[in-house]
Assembly symmetry: C2
Homo-oligomer: 390 residues x 2
C-alpha cells in the first residue's frame, strides 16, 4: 500500500487535471546549480537523493539562490538577469522573468515578501514581489552626471532593509522597504575605491565591503549607521608576495566562529583570522592554495576551505580550537562550493569536473554518499530561509 498526494484543479465542483506529488516537508531540501546546462537539481539532504531536475534556467554562471519564508520556493538569480521561481514541492518552474541584462545576485527581505536583485546593466537594484515576481520598485544606482553604477554585495538586513555597494561610485546604500513602492535610501559616499563584494556578519550587525581599488575593508555598523562607514583591516588585499590572483575570493565566503572571522587572503596561501572585537589580524593560517570559500560548520568547531586553480582538487579542514589545519582532503576534480546541513553533521561538496556532489560526515571527515550532477557549481539548502544576510 502506498500513499500519494494528488494535486487537483477544482473548478465548479469538478475535479480535473490531477497531478501526483509525494507529501514532502521542505526543511531538508536543497538546490544544486548545474552551471553549464542551465539547470538545477532539487535534492533531499536526509536521504541524500536527487528528487528532480529543473531545466532552461538560462545562464547560471555565478548563480545564487534564496528561499521563500515557508521554504516551498527557491529563487534562482542568473548572470543573464534571469530570476526563476522554483516550486520545491511540485518539482517545477513556477515562473521565470528576465529582469535585467547582467545581474550579480539577489536577496529576500526579512519578512519574505520582497525579492531584491542587484544588477550591473542597467546598474541598480530592482524589487519584486516574492509571490508573483511582479516588479514593485526600481532603484537606479545613480551618481555623477546621469551615470549608473554596477551594484554588488547585496544583503538583506533586519528591519526590512537591503544593503548594497556601488562599484563605480564608491558608495554603500541602505534601502528601507517599509514602503516597498518607494524605498527610502540612506547613502554613504567615499567609502573606499571600487567596492567589489560585501558580506553581512552572521548576526546581521556589520556590513563589510571589500575594495578593489585599494586595500582594507569598508565597515558599516547597522546598529548605528549614524556613525558612518569606517575602514578596517588596512592591509587586507595588499599583495606582499605579488602572487597572481587566480580568483578574487568571495566575501560571502567569509565566516564567523565565536570571536573570530575567518577570511580568505587575496592571492596568498593563507586564511586570515580576525578578532571581531578589535578588527585586528590575530593569525595567518597557512593553507594549501589560494582560498576561495572559507565556511564554518554551524557549531563553529570546524572551518572548511576550498581553493582556486591549480589547487581546486583539495579541501582543508581547520580545527577552530587550535586555529590550524587538521585535515587535508582530496574530494575530486574542481571543488567549487561547500554547503553544510543546518545542524552541521554533513557537508556537501560540488565537484564540477567529476560531475558529482559528494557528501562528507564532518565528524569522521569521510565521504558517506554522492550524487551525480552535471558540472555542479553551487549548493544551497532551504535552511537559508531562516538566516539574514545571505
Amino acid at each position: 500500500m502506498k500513499f500519494l498526494l494528488v494535486l487537483c484543479v477544482v473548478s465548479a465542483g469538478l475535479l480535473g487535471g490531477c497531478a501526483t506529488a509525494e507529501l514532502r516537508g521542505s526543511g531538508d531540501l536543497g538546490v544544486v546549480i548545474e552551471r553549464e546546462a542551465g539547470s538545477v537539481l532539487i535534492v533531499n539532504t536526509t536521504r541524500i537523493a536527487v528528487l528532480s531536475r529543473i531545466t532552461e534556467l538560462g545562464d547560471l554562471s555565478h548563480a545564487s539562490v534564496v528561499f521563500s519564508r515557508d521554504q516551498r520556493y527557491a529563487y534562482v538569480f542568473g548572470r543573464d538577469g534571469g530570476l526563476s521561481k522554483i516550486d520545491l514541492l511540485q518539482d517545477k518552474l513556477e515562473k521565470r522573468i528576465v529582469q535585467a541584462g547582467n545581474s550579480i545576485g539577489g536577496a529576500i527581505s526579512q519578512d519574505g515578501r520582497w525579492i531584491a536583485v542587484s544588477n550591473y546593466t542597467p546598474g541598480g537594484v530592482k524589487i519584486f514581489a516574492a509571490d508573483t515576481l511582479e516588479q514593485i520598485a526600481d532603484i537606479p544606482a545613480s551618481y555623477g552626471e546621469g551615470l549608473l553604477s554596477k551594484v554588488v554585495g547585496l544583503a538583506d538586513a533586519s528591519d526590512q532593509r537591503f544593503v548594497f555597494s556601488l562599484f563605480d561610485a564608491d558608495q554603500i546604500w541602505v534601502a528601507n522597504l517599509h514602503n516597498p513602492q518607494a524605498p527610502q535610501i540612506q547613502k554613504f559616499s567615499q567609502i573606499g575605491k571600487q567596492p567589489y563584494d560585501a558580506l553581512l556578519t552572521p548576526d546581521g550587525r556589520y556590513y563589510l565591503a571589500g575594495l578593489f581599488g585599494e586595500t582594507g575593508l569598508a565597515k558599516l555598523d547597522l546598529w548605528q549607521p549614524e556613525a558612518g562607514v569606517n575602514r578596517v583591516l588596512p592591509d587586507y588585499g595588499a599583495h606582499e608576495e605579488k602572487l597572481p590572483v587566480y580568483k578574487m575570493p568571495h566575501l560571502q565566503g567569509w565566516t564567523a566562529s565565536g570571536d573570530w572571522l575567518f577570511v580568505p587572503a587575496v592571492g596568498q596561501h593563507e586564511v586570515l583570522v580576525i578578532d571581531k572585537h578589535t578588527w585586528q589580524l590575530l593569525k595567518r593560517i597557512p593553507v594549501a592554495g589560494q582560498p576561495v570559500f572559507v565556511t564554518a560548520r554551524p557549531d563553529g568547531r570546524q572551518v572548511w576551505v576550498n581553493f582556486a586553480l591549480p589547487d581546486n582538487q583539495l579541501v582543508q579542514v581547520i580545527d577552530v580550537k587550535d586555529l590550524s589545519v587538521s585535515k587535508t582532503l582530496q574530494p575530486g576534480k574542481a571543488v567549487l562550493h561547500m554547503e553544510f546541513s543546518p545542524r552541521g553533521e554533513t557537508v556537501w561538496l560540488a565537484i564540477r569536473d567529476d560531475n558529482r556532489v559528494a557528501v562528507y560526515d564532518t565528524e569522521t571527515l569521510s565521504e558517506i554518499g554522492q550524487l551525480p550532477a552535471d558540472k555542479p557549481s553551487g549548493i544551497f539548502f532551504s535552511a537559508r530561509a531562516n538566516q539574514l544576510g545571505l
Copy 2:
C-alpha cells in the same frame, strides 16, 4: 478555481479513502501548546493563522517540542511521559506513546534519527526512532546502590551526542549515539549539588547546569570534555535580598548575543549580563519583576524578558546596544512564553489568561496580530529543526 492536494491510499491500483490537504511548505509552521486542554494548535507564521487543533495529547504541563529534520513532524513531550508525533502537513496525530511515568523534556539527535526523552520516573533517558517511535535504547540514570536519579537538562549536541544532568546524583552524562542500541556514556561526577536544569550555548560548545543545592553553575566544554566540569559564576543563585522565588527560571531561557549571555537572576528583579570570555558578571540590568525567559531576537539586537507572578502581565525589551531596558509592554494577562520568527521580524507571545497569542513587530514594538488559543503556555516554531541544543 482552486488547487487542492488530495491524499489517496493506492492499493492494488485502486484509489480509495482520499483526504484533502493544502500544499504546504513547512518552513513557516509552528505549534502552540494549550496546556489545560491537552491540545496543540498548528499555526502558520506568515499568514498569522491557526491551521488546525490536535487534541488528546495528555498532560501538557511543562510540555516542550522538537521538530523532525524535514520539518514535517513535531514531537511533543508531555509531563505524563507522553511522546506525541504530529504531522504538520496533514494536521493529524501520527502516533502517541506513553514512555514513562513522569517526564521533563526531550531532544532530537543532530541527524534527526533519534528522539531522546529525559524522565523523572523511572529516572533515566530513553531513546526512540524518530520515524516509528520504537524504543531503541534505555539509559537508566543509575547511581549508588540501585538508585535511579531524576534526569534534567537534556540537550542534543554535535557529533550525535546527548548531554544531560542527574539531579540526585550530582552528575553530568554525555551519551554518544553512534551505535544507538548501545550508547556510549561519559560520566562526570561531583559536578555540584542537585543540577536542576541546563542549557547548551547556541554555538553548541558549552553545557551549563544550574545547581539547586548550592550557588554557581557547572560548565562542561564539549570541545574538550577531557578538561572536566568547572564551576563558573560562583554567586549565581545566591539570594542576597532573600526575595521569595516565585518560579525557578528556566536555564533554556538563557540567551546569547554577541559576547554576552543574558541570564535571569534567581529571585531578583534583574537580568544578569555575563561576559562569555571570562564568565564574569558584566552588568545587572534592573527589570520589572522576577524574569523567567530572557530571549534574544535572532540578530541579537534585542532581548525580550517575561516575568513570574505578580508581574506576568509585563514584557520588557532590552536594547543590547545600550544594555538597558528600552520599552515596557503590557501585552495581556499572564505572558508565559515568547518565540521569535526565524529572522526576527516578529515575536509571538503566549498570553494564557487572555486566551490568545499576540504577534508583535519587533521594530515598532507594537501588536500586529493575534490568534485565539485556549490558555496557551508555549510556542515552538519549525525553524528549531535547524538548531542544536534546543
